[in-house]
């Protein structure tokens, strides 16, 4: 899709002889204005991607330069048929992304509803709730790993130890995926809150008054007025959060290194393991290409949902 687009958009009407002037004159202004950004995105993102595509057909371990050579589909064959980590990482990516997006939405909705009412210190509360989104992911992940989730020195287990008879699990070992999801949700729920809060505030006071006059409870007001109104905001937030969370490897890199076993290895992290940790450029490139293809399939499905929303514009 990525490559196909550039054909239709940029180079469709090239003719001979003074083609530049002619083409420019023939183009609608909207297209011309798009060109700089389009050219930039193609140059900076597609050129390395094409190179990656080429490298995915090569056998190239940085540490074994004398074995470098064309291997055709060898890397893909290795990944698809002989690497158990690959299939598990696809499953992991799906679980982690879906869980993180859905839970971020739920928690974000809760946050937004909390601060959409007036009470003492609402501004401070909103500020505190937004903060996790602003924290550098690397710093946040390190802090969660060391000081929150450490089984011996971590705050979480200390809090649990106050409750008599409770367990003090080794979070990153026993519940690795859940721990990663918690950190992702902690970071992205504020983002969803920002989006949903704007949605809530665009509900006019008159609408709310109307149901309140009917004697509706706060819950019914939330269910009948707020939630339906927020539908588009959920779509928007879901799309943006998915795009960002799929690529999020900092927490995995810093907290679990994709483990134990392959329990938290997502596709983008598998790319890192192959290409950087293993110095296997060819295999890493092939993993990267598959990641892009799968992402595009996934996002196309998502965009189809969004498409309905855009069509109404």
């Amino acid at each position: 899709m990525a490559i196909a687009d550039l054909g239709t958009t940029a180079g469709a009407k090239t003719g001979r002889g003074g083609w530049l002037r002619q083409t420019v004159a023939n183009q609608p202004i909207g297209r011309l204005l798009l060109l700089p950004a389009l050219a930039y995105a193609i140059l900076v993102t597609q050129a390395p991607f094409l190179y990656t595509l080429w490298l995915s057909f090569e056998r190239w371990n940085l540490n074994r330069p004398n074995l470098r050579g064309f291997t055709g589909l060898g890397n893909y064959e290795l990944l698809l048929f002989r690497d158990p980590a690959f299939w598990q990482s696809i499953l992991n990516t799906f679980i982690i992304v879906v869980a993180a997006v859905v839970l971020s939405m739920a928690l974000g909705l809760f946050y937004a509803e909390l601060v959409n009412h007036k009470f003492l210190g609402r501004g401070v509360v909103r500020t505190m709730l937004i903060t996790p989104f602003l924290i550098m992911p690397v710093a946040a992940a390190l802090h969660w790993k060391n000081q929150m989730l450490n089984p011996i020195y971590g705050v979480v287990n200390w809090v649990l130890s106050i409750v008599p008879g409770s367990l003090s699990p080794n979070w990153l070992g026993t519940f690795p995926e859940q721990s990663i999801i918690v950190v992702l949700v902690w970071r992205w729920a504020p983002f969803m809150m920002l989006i949903l809060l704007a949605g809530m505030q665009s509900i006019s006071e008159e609408t709310r008054e109307a149901v309140r006059v009917d004697g509706a409870t706060a819950w019914r007001e939330f269910r009948d007025i707020t939630l339906p109104h927020l539908y588009r905001f959920f779509q928007l937030g879901g799309l943006l959060a998915t795009v960002f969370i799929v690529q999020e490897i900092d927490p995995i890199y810093m907290m679990t290194k994709g483990g134990p076993g392959n329990a938290t290895t997502t596709l983008p992290y598998l790319v890192y393991r192959k290409a950087i940790e293993g110095s296997n450029v060819g295999l890493g490139a092939a993993t990267g290409v598959i990641t892009v293809l799968l992402s595009i399939v996934a996002i196309t499905l998502l965009l189809r949902a969004l498409d309905r929303m855009l069509r109404e514009d």
Binding site: G261, R273, E277
Partner: protein
């Protein structure tokens, strides 16, 4: 970290404080002005943008790039000033852009040199000049080196050499160096690497031979460097790196706990004895019987584990590169290691590497810990281990079939073959790995805590070091000399390396295998399954790397 360093830092910081006072004050005042402007513009006041201009004029004295950015934003303020909504936010960016350069002024202030960097023993050498980029692992010994370089110690000797240091944690620096060297990008002139890479990279002509120059320099005394160390850095009779500090492995234990339990640690324990001690001393809410690395990674978990495999009589591969992790001896060693951690280790062992175990030991949570000898320097330092340094006992690395696991590691300085300033690079390497450097850092720190040891024999002859390290120096010295990474196992193997297998693919293989073992440690897979998958991975690597026929 170190009490002595702390004091010196304080002196430096106070000086820095005076220098920055004026600039700090002006940054503060213009920051205040910005804050007022924003407060006003928030209320929709009219003189907001005008007031912002004032600090902008000051901007001319700052770094060009930054003040240009500032002007752009000031223009942005003007162009948007008719819109009341967002003035405060735009003003905010502008204020940040303006205050920040003033803070940079602090950095540009006069450099404060440490007063007591040891005076140079030699006259300054002005013949060698150039700029070199040096990449180092952020271990305490290298951080000390960085501080000494920043304090001007190297430039007193070589005033015409500019040294740019990049100091990063092991994972990141390894990635950066590997990319740079293997693609021959030539960003680094000098870098720290281990004995794992040196022969492999030398074979590819990526490293410059430095042994001849080091041997030719009488002040350097190459024969003072342990032969066991240089042996791992040699390829085809050439020496391709110079050791900075070196280590083998040993066992640390708590003498008080052993005394209370009526146990006695032999000087050279066996692994069976260690397991018995661990069982006797383990009390989960208080002290864990045995601390070991479980953190995945060929340089983390697999370092101690491979030495246990060696000691038990196991091996990674047989002479035909057929994987042997599921052989009786190897499997027994792996099971022993994993079960030791499961039964007597701390919770979360799969996340514990060197640092985490050191922390646990310093906190008094480990009865025993088997790891690199360099930990002795840290654990015996009262500043780093205030509560338990008196109760610290040392023993040789435990034995089984073999008397030693053959752990041998060093951090070394190597030079890129394509360095464009080889003379300057060589001068730096020789200085950093010289005996003089050890004295300089000891004087700088007023202590041995971050001095590089385990590489030079003369350090162990130093009365001052003998006094400090009397409890462990002999064990370290003998362990280093006894380790034989070139014949690490009972049965013959086609590879070299004590706690690793010296093939380029081992980074990936080790990473994947240690993941399987970590999953077994936390009980997500069984030990048998983990060993079986590890063995498959090893075979697959041997086939793809064209080792196995």
């Amino acid at each position: 970290m170190n009490e002595r360093t702390g004091k010196r830092n304080r002196v430096r910081s106070v000086a820095l404080g005076t220098f920055s006072l004026n600039r700090g004050a002006s940054a503060l005042s213009s920051g205040w002005a910005c804050a007022k402007v924003m407060a006003r513009s928030e209320k929709g006041g009219k003189n907001g943008p005008e007031a912002v201009v004032r600090p902008e004029r000051r901007g001319h004295q700052f770094d060009n790039t930054v003040s240009n950015t500032g002007s752009v934003l000031v223009v942005a303020i003007y162009s948007t000033r008719r819109v009341p909504m967002s003035r405060s936010s735009v003003a905010l960016i502008a204020c940040l852009v303006m205050v920040v350069p003033m803070l940079f002024g602090i950095a540009a202030g006069p450099r404060v040199h440490a007063q007591d960097a040891t005076p140079a023993a030699m006259a300054p050498n002005t013949d060698i000049s150039g700029t070199i980029d040096v990449g180092m692992v952020a271990n305490p010994q290298m951080v000390a080196l960085q501080e000494l370089v920043n304090a001007g110690a190297f430039n007193e000797l070589y005033p015409n050499i500019t040294v740019n240091l990049t100091v990063l944690p092991e994972n990141e620096i390894r990635q950066t160096i590997t990319q740079d060297v293997t693609t021959q990008s030539g960003q680094f002139d000098v870098f720290t690497i281990g004995p794992f890479e040196v022969p492999l990279w030398a074979e590819q002509d990526w490293l410059a031979e430095v042994g001849a120059d080091a041997a030719a320099d009488p002040n350097y005394a190459l024969d003072d460097v342990f032969e066991s160390m240089t042996a791992g850095l040699t390829y085809d009779d050439g020496l391709y790196a110079l050791p900075f500090y070196g280590e083998s492995a040993m066992l640390f234990y708590r003498t008080d706990l052993f005394a209370d339990a009526g146990l006695e640690m032999p000087e050279r324990p066996t692994w069976d004895q260690v397991a018995e001690f661990a069982a006797a001393l383990h009390s989960p809410d208080d002290v864990y019987g045995m601390c070991l690395r479980g953190l995945p990674g060929w340089g983390e978990q697999l370092a101690p584990l491979t030495t246990v495999i060696n000691a038990f009589g196991g091996r990674w591969f047989d002479e035909n590169w057929v994987a042997q992790l599921d052989s009786e001896e190897s499997a027994a060693a792996i099971r022993f290691y994993i079960e030791l951690l499961q039964n007597y280790g701390p919770p979360g062992s799969d996340q514990n590497g060197f640092t985490e175990n050191q922390t646990l030991f310093v906190q008094g949570r480990c009865a025993m810990w088997y790891d690199a000898t360099s930990a002795a320097e840290l654990l015996s330092d009262p500043a780093l281990n205030p509560d338990f340094n008196e109760q610290l006992g040392y023993a040789y690395g435990p034995s089984a079939e073999l008397p030693t696991g053959n752990w041998l590691w060093s951090w070394n300085f190597a030079m890129a073959a394509n360095s464009d300033a080889p003379d300057a690079a060589l001068a730096f390497m020789l200085w950093a790995t010289s005996r003089d450097y050890v004295d300089q850092i000891v004087a700088f720190d007023d202590g041995w805590g971050r001095a590089p040891t385990g590489a030079r024999a003369s350090v162990y002859d130093d009365p001052a070091y003998q006094e400090r390290a009397s409890d462990f120096a002999t064990i370290v010295l003998n362990s280093i000399n006894e380790a034989n990474p070139n014949q690490p196992t009972v049965d013959p193997v086609p590879y070299t390396g004590g706690q690793f297998v010296r093939i380029p693919e081992f980074q990936q293989l080790g990473d994947d295998v240690s993941r399987e073992f970590a999953a077994a440690i936390v009980g997500q897979t069984s030990v048998d399954d983990a060993i079986a998958s590890a063995n498959d991975l090893a075979n697959q690597t041997a086939i793809e790397g064209l080792y196995q026929e």
